[in-house]
């Protein structure tokens, strides 16, 4: 437990490697060898690798500063190992919180972008209605309105692009957060495992020795096995992570390299659009579900469900006419579930929204 005061100025191999990799990344960018999108991708990978390296280093105690003094018993050494792992967990949790905050901010921007897009869409529709209701004989007015409508269409197109970017950003951050969460959970489970192993050996083989690889600690076979499994899990997770969305983003935001076949390149771009669209749609569904059910929302208690219920039973009294309208909306939406199931099944939120929109319920937008 006398470790910290002897660790000033510690430079592990990992710290040196990470510092060098980031320096080279920066250098390559300023030499024009990397685009902004590629830097973004590589930084994202670097963050993932950093998280994994910190975890592995703390779990294994790969390189630590030479201890200035050693004392204590087997109990103390077990505690030292646990403190080491607990610190790794704390660092990861801080990292996780930071990423979660970024995601919240991105989702907020995504919501604003969606609102702007919807507002522009409505403006275009209103203008079109105005054109349609203007007599064909009033050509001057129609021409003016059409010009205004085209300007609005341009605004709509810009807002759609912004929304697509925000969707993509949310998808990326969500993916990173999921990865960080996975690593954090792995450390937490390994910490539990180490606690168990350490407790089992407290009165036995744990001893202190200045030249041991794990900060002066010797661990028994079970502890070594637990740590090895944890490290393997972390490395497998991080190295196995697919950066397909990030890679596609980099590909789509850069010009075609001259030595790549244009047709092949075009086909790849089409696939990339699909990948990003799928990822954005998946994330959008998740965020819509969260928004629909509100913070702390539960089973069948989202706003849309409540709105359908109020439509069906205004003032708590069943309205047969509205009930028939709901049945018609369910059929029109192609929903197979009955009304009570539709309102009380969490997974049917999308179907509820469809039915609610047909009924014109604002809470289901």
């Amino acid at each position: 437990m006398r470790k910290p005061w002897a660790s000033i100025g510690l430079r592990t191999q990992s710290i040196t490697l990470m510092r060098d990799a980031l320096y080279r990344l920066c250098e390559a960018y300023y030499n024009g060898q990397l685009s902004k999108a590629q830097v973004m991708l590589l930084l994202s990978r670097s963050q993932d690798l950093t998280a994994a390296i910190v975890a592995v280093e703390q779990l294994t105690g790969a390189v630590v500063a030479q201890q200035a003094a050693l004392s204590g018993s087997a109990g103390a050494s077990s505690a030292a190992a646990l403190v080491s792992n607990a610190k790794a967990l704390e660092q990861m949790q801080t990292f996780q919180k930071k990423k979660a905050d970024e995601l919240t901010e991105a989702k907020k921007k995504q919501g604003e972008a969606r609102t702007a897009r919807d507002r522009n869409q409505k403006a275009v529709d209103d203008k079109q209605n105005e054109i349609d209701s203007t007599p064909a004989s009033d050509m001057q007015k129609r021409a003016r309105l059409e010009k205004e409508r085209d300007a609005l269409k341009n605004e709509l197109s810009a807002s759609e692009q912004t929304l697509a970017q925000e969707d993509s950003n949310v998808a990326l951050l969500q993916k990173q957060l999921d990865d960080i969460t996975r690593v954090t959970d792995t450390i937490a489970s390994q910490l539990d495992s180490v606690i168990t192993s350490a407790s089992a050996t407290a009165a036995g083989t744990s001893v202190l020795g200045a030249s041991s690889s794990r900060g002066g600690l010797s661990l028994n076979d079970a502890s070594v096995e637990s740590i090895t499994l944890g490290v393997k899990e972390i490395v497998t997770t991080v190295l196995g992570k697919k950066y397909i969305v990030e890679t596609c983003t980099a590909l789509l935001t850069n010009p075609r390299p001259p030595d790549v076949d244009p047709v092949e390149y075009q086909n790849t771009l089409v696939l990339c659009y699909q990948v990003i669209r799928d990822a954005a749609q998946a994330e959008s569904k998740i965020s819509q579900k969260m928004i629909g059910e509100g913070v702390g929302g539960h089973f069948g208690s989202d706003h849309c469900s409540a709105a359908i219920r109020s439509f069906w039973q205004p003032g708590g009294i069943i309205n047969p006419v509205n009930r028939a309208q709901i049945d018609a909306a369910i059929r029109q939406a192609g929903v197979k579930a009955s009304l009570p199931v539709l309102m009380n099944t969490e997974e049917l939120l999308d179907d509820r929204r469809k039915v609610g929109l047909i009924l014109g319920l604002p809470a289901c937008k």
């Binding site: 069948g300 009955s338 199931v341 309102m343």
Partner: protein
């Protein structure tokens, strides 16, 4: 969500306690006969049937 001839049968599981009454009421208001049982997890399962 099955349909046995002219009888419609529904089954919903994992209903939290605080949502049970509302869920049961929705089915009863739609003409279903309802049977409720508690799961080992503490949540509730609801079976409902009505003539089609």
């Amino acid at each position: 969500m099955g349909n046995g001839g002219n009888v419609e049968v529904e089954l919903i599981v994992d209903i939290p306690t605080d949502k049970l009454q509302q869920t049961k009421q929705d089915f009863e208001n739609d003409g279903y006969k309802v049977k409720v049982v508690q799961q080992r997890s503490g949540q509730w399962a609801l079976a409902a049937a009505k003539s089609g």
